[in-house]
Symmetry: C2
Subunit: 454 residues, 2 copies
């Protein structure tokens, strides 16, 4: 393999995926004059996924949290961006394959991220969309605002109840942030916008399988976050397992009790699995994937038997530091990308690096205006100071690629005016046809009220 690391004096690095992992690899390699980089992505922009929930709830526009890859890498003259979908890898010939096109590499960096996982219940997907792409966010936005519009028109109280019930499955940062944002919409922003309904009657259920929300944070912060959510009006159900999702009905099990909630807006924030490229890589190289489809990587982020193939970001299972995989968050991907780039450059000089070590920058989640939780290990913050911290961290990350001064002003403006200016219902027909709730469903509105008081 060593031979392939030197090639006519210039070393060819192919990076697949323009998320945090891929982009930081490219950025860190940008100044090297003996390296040629090709960054392949199926989208023409880097998406700042941590803020995607703000698009889904009408605060920001997709472009506010996206940076065109070509603009980010404009000045990296050793870097070429290629828009396309990789469908195969040939690790023996050192090639990635895009349709009929073949791109050779000396070193390959795979950073294609993760998708939703419905734990084998793929039929839930249509009823409970997840939040990974711009299209997902626009679809969720459409559903949320269409539900209020549908309720305004609906005369049947039972159907109206289903339109005003929002169920979020999974209470990691995305689930918590969605629940908090919908609560602020219903109980504050939209309060005076309707004439036939009181949006204050909205019920927001956050369902979590484990015994506390935000399990990546310290228990006292989980507790603080849950209290804040409940003050906002969110009904938090822990130790709750969803057993079925179908035509506007969620069935879940809590304390051995089966409960049924009709809801027109069910959002999935529960599970992720490694992207399809992990499986392809596994088939071609024999490398192992974990149960979530993530590629088991070596201590230096390469894969077994292939020193010139790296996997970084959400697609990688790196368990050499804590015995369990590092979390699928932006800072891990960023640091992995930087590590891989430095290792590639050192190898070209005949050197190497000690194993990858993630320097934990902490975890955090936004709950609502003025409310967040931040866990920096020794320092734990909650409430307004955590919210300011959350804001600063996100602004810092955003402006690394692109001067998103407009986003900052937009936030400040939205904060002052409580406005949700981006609440467009677009994409499909803009109005909801109210589907009939199954008349054989034994559920009644009164039961719902009981069921909701957990």
């Amino acid at each position: 393999m060593a031979a392939s690391l030197e090639n006519n004096g210039r070393h060819k690095v192919v990076i697949v995926g323009g998320g945090f992992g891929g982009l930081y690899t490219a950025k860190t390699l940008a100044k090297a004059d003996n390296v040629d980089i090709t960054l392949i992505d199926k989208r023409n922009f880097h998406l700042f996924q941590p803020l995607l929930y703000q698009v889904a709830t009408g605060t920001l526009s997709p472009a506010d949290i996206s940076s065109p890859l070509r603009a980010v890498l404009r000045k990296s003259k050793n870097t070429q961006v290629l828009l396309g979908k990789v469908n195969d890898i040939d690790p023996e010939a050192n090639q990635v394959i895009l349709g009929e096109q073949v791109v050779p590499y000396d070193t390959l960096v795979l950073a294609t991220g993760a998708n939703h996982s419905y734990f084998g219940q793929d039929q839930w997907k249509d009823f409970a969309p997840g939040l990974k792409t711009v299209e997902d966010a626009i679809e969720i936005r459409r559903r949320i605002f269409s539900a209020f519009e549908g309720a305004e028109k609906e005369v049947d109280p039972e159907k109206r109840r289903a339109l005003l019930n929002f169920v979020i499955v999974g209470a990691g940062p995305t689930g918590v942030e969605l629940a908090g944002a919908i609560a602020e919409l219903a109980y504050k922003t939209l309060k005076e916008d309707f004439r036939n309904i009181d949006t204050g009657e909205t019920q927001i259920l956050l369902l979590q399988g484990g015994d506390r929300i935000l399990p990546a944070l310290a228990p006292e912060l989980s507790q603080a976050a849950q209290e804040s959510l409940e003050q906002l009006g969110v009904i938090v159900n822990t130790k709750t397992r969803v057993t079925d999702i179908n035509n506007d009905i969620v069935t879940f099990k809590q304390n051995d009790e089966i409960k049924v909630i009709p809801s027109k807006t069910i959002l999935w924030a529960a599970g992720v699995k490694g992207s399809h490229m992990g499986k392809v890589l596994s088939e071609r190289t024999g490398v192992e994937c974990d149960r979530s489809g993530r590629v088991i990587v070596e201590p230096d982020l390469t894969i077994k038997g292939y020193k010139n193939i790296f996997v970084v970001g959400d697609l990688a299972n790196f368990s050499h530091q804590h015995g369990k995989p590092l979390p699928g968050v932006a800072p891990v991907a960023k640091q992995a990308g930087e590590y891989v780039a430095k290792l590639i450059l050192l190898r070209l000089q005949g050197h190497t690096l000690p194993q990858f070590k993630y320097s934990d920058v902490g975890s955090l989640a936004m709950i609502g205006q003025n409310l967040a939780v931040v866990d920096l290990g020794l320092i734990k913050l909650k409430g307004f100071i955590a919210w300011v911290f959350w804001l600063l961290i996100h602004i810092y990350f955003l402006i690394e690629f692109d001067t998103k001064i407009v986003v900052v002003i937009q936030w400040a403006w939205n904060y002052l005016t409580r406005n949700r200016r981006s609440r467009l219902i677009t994409g499909k027909e803009a109005f909801v046809e109210i589907q009939n709730i199954n008349p054989n469903n034994p559920y009644k509105v009164e039961d719902n009220k009981e069921a909701l008081k957990v």
Copy 2:
């Protein structure tokens, strides 16, 4: 009819359409305490159409030029917004029909606007999208940026040429603004973003049937606009009639000569026709429509035989002032909406108004950064001062409904940085599959160069 104008002391006005015509009717009626208003629209937002081309070319986001109808009308407590699609009108029973729902009215204001017209060649629609909705703008944005991406990957010079040819049919304000914006993209913004192509090789054709562009403006301004466009690099062809559009080929006739241009991005800015509701109204009331499907209205904007049905905006053909119809622009719709609202209020007091009279505020079009043309009748502006004027007018209109301070900052920012931060390829798959150009097509690249030098 007089009886229906008074009803239990409160008068029920139904407005269909939340564009400029409908919204200004509603706003002007908002303070009346003896009127109930229902505004029906199939979208949940008012769209500022004059800036839609900036969404289509990646400068602004859809939400930047949209105002949620409920937010605009939040404080109009006599006004209800209903999201839905009107499919019929019963003028004898004084009802509009939305699916299974019936909404009664005392006075009806129809303001459903206009759609594209392909002059009977509806099969051109798929090849040459027009620009009326947010979805249109996102689709055009996808096509424009996908064309550059496709060209970057394309090895066949003939196919690459087709990807770098942009054809805009119709040189009213929308066509001119699209052509100017694409020229700035290709020759300025994207200049350093690609590695395999020189975006400077892009060719932008603006085709106009008449003998000058922007025919609504004074001839000297048409001339100035054409010169500015040509300086930007746009090829302007007047007296040119498109005879066919099919699989990536535009055929047009100029000076009795037939020319053929291969192009992956063909945009339609040529014709509009009144919305479908005009036809429905005509069938139910016998009122006449013109050849473009616009409803012929009376001097007071009612329709013949129905004093309680008004038509305003792009759907109306009002010819009682100049002998020819007023143009389909925002100021006409705005003034018509205000007139109708005032007339309704006066009628409730037993009074009336003289006929509607449009107070001409002039015409204008943006060509590019620092370049615009403005025709105020006595005063004619061009170049930088016209550009500033254009900007101020549009900001003034935008902030009437919503404090779009962010849009203003965004423009200023884009102006300083030449950035197109909203150039996302979204909606469909983000990468283009290059379709084979018909091998039997006799067209050759060399011919193209000749054909383009008109």
